[in-house]
Symmetry: C2
Subunit: 279 residues, 2 copies
């Protein structure tokens, strides 16, 4: 039996380092996933792995053996009541300079983290957020992918210290609302769910995609398109979503107040009762 | 005496790994420099370190002890006749999620690489290059910095396999010419040196900056501004520059031919005779 603490597996072995030649370090040449682990089970596993593989495919990284990943995730998480599993796949070591070599063997890194100590009220009473100054650049070839080039998020998250501000919202260079630093953002206009288009920048979250499916199945109108900051200010409801927080209503953006709304609560109910997504 | 091969130093110790918690790996949260080493001496050291420190300052990474870096570089390079020294500074481990923690202790990675086996004719006869399809995104907060978020360069460099194509030129999303994947690009129009503006994207190279100084000192007219692809096609001379290649004349871009020109040769002479930049 496994009785030693195992917090990180690198290519299947307990380890806490990677090679200095790894292209994940040199160029941010890889992708990652962040999963909630409840009672030893990584939630929405198939959806996260599908997105991971799609990201690898778009970057030309060799597909990962999903069975192997599942075994390693189980080894790391089986004893965890509540935890966060981060999976990083890099292109591995090799290639000449920036040029990716097709023979690169990807590096698999699985890290188990403690469940974050967010106040329980975040999901019920909502959270205060801010609008960040940083504007995201456009790159359609990278848009949607949860890749390792995250300096925009690092700089945006460095804009504030106030622990009561739970998230920062990001606009693109044209002033379109895109996402939060660690979450997707959704608006409610009347009875319609509205999500920013992520074809030019941003990360297409697993929960965001699931919410669109759940909305469609319930006959809730939804649109994905460019969203202006003015629409954000005029929205009836605003919420954040990701795999760890689930859904957090937004009750304040800078000096503008909102109320946790009915459609947000309905979507929380749908999300938290979705099979394989315990909370 | 140091008789063991020492190719990589991590925080001053011989090592070939970094922590899986390093933000350089997790987010590409760091900067790097690539220096030519000739007869054991890293060339243009002060300029590279100044740019490294400026990059750290812009990202809010604790400044590095330059004396320490110099000692480590000497330890690694003193026996090298001709080599390439790569210096990577990451923000280190720590912080919560994307949020950078001011107490993060930066990671110093120095790697000595073999001198690349470029044909000697590259600098005299010139090279063939191509125009890449990938368009660079705009981010003024990151523009100019030689940071570790290099997926655009990886994808661009993945566009071609032909070993006779030595470099790919990149445009930004608006179609302005910006740089090469691993070099800066310069044009000559008549007797004027013309360099793309790098305020929205691109890496502001050490050789590029030095060439502007050398041109000014010689009374050579120079301009830094937006450059169109049409101007590239109409240029009298085109060349690439970086710290390892020095200056390479461009003699072909896709189906368009150029001749190695007089001003390019004059700048090669000035660059190669510049004190502290042997070739």
């Amino acid at each position: 039996m496994n009785e030693t603490p195992r917090h990180t597996l690198v290519n299947g072995a307990v380890a806490d380092t990677v090679a200095v030649t790894d292209r994940g370090l040199l160029y941010g040449d890889g992708v990652f996933e962040t999963l909630a682990v409840i009672n030893g089970v990584p939630q929405l596993w198939a959806r996260h792995i599908a997105r991971l593989q799609e990201g690898c495919a778009r970057l030309g990284i060799t597909p990962v053996d999903a069975t192997l990943l599942a075994e390693e995730a189980q080894q790391l998480c089986t004893a965890a009541d509540r935890a966060v599993l981060k999976i990083i796949i890099t292109r591995g070591s090799g290639g000449r300079g920036y040029r990716p070599d097709v023979s690169c063997a990807p590096t698999r890194i699985l890290q188990r983290h403690p469940w974050p100590d967010y106040p329980p009220g975040c999901a019920t009473d909502g959270v205060a957020v801010r609008l960040c100054r940083l504007r995201m650049g456009h790159n359609p070839l990278l848009a949607g992918i949860k890749h390792l080039n995250r300096l925009e998020q690092v700089l945006a998250r460095g804009e504030w210290d106030d622990p009561d501000i739970r998230e920062g919202l990001l606009q693109d260079q044209d002033g379109n609302l895109i996402e939060g630093t660690m979450s997707n953002v959704c608006l409610v206009q009347g009875q319609q769910l509205l999500m920013p288009d992520l074809m030019r920048c941003g990360v297409a979250g697993v929960i965001r995609a699931l919410l669109l499916e759940l909305a469609a199945a319930q006959g809730i109108a939804a649109a994905v398109r460019d969203v202006t900051v003015n629409e954000l200010a005029m929205a009836d409801e605003v919420f954040l979503c990701n795999s760890v927080i689930g859904i957090w209503p937004v009750v304040r953006i800078d000096d503008h107040d909102y109320l946790p709304g009915q459609l947000t609560q309905q979507l929380q109910g749908l999300l938290y009762s979705y099979p394989g997504n315990e909370h």
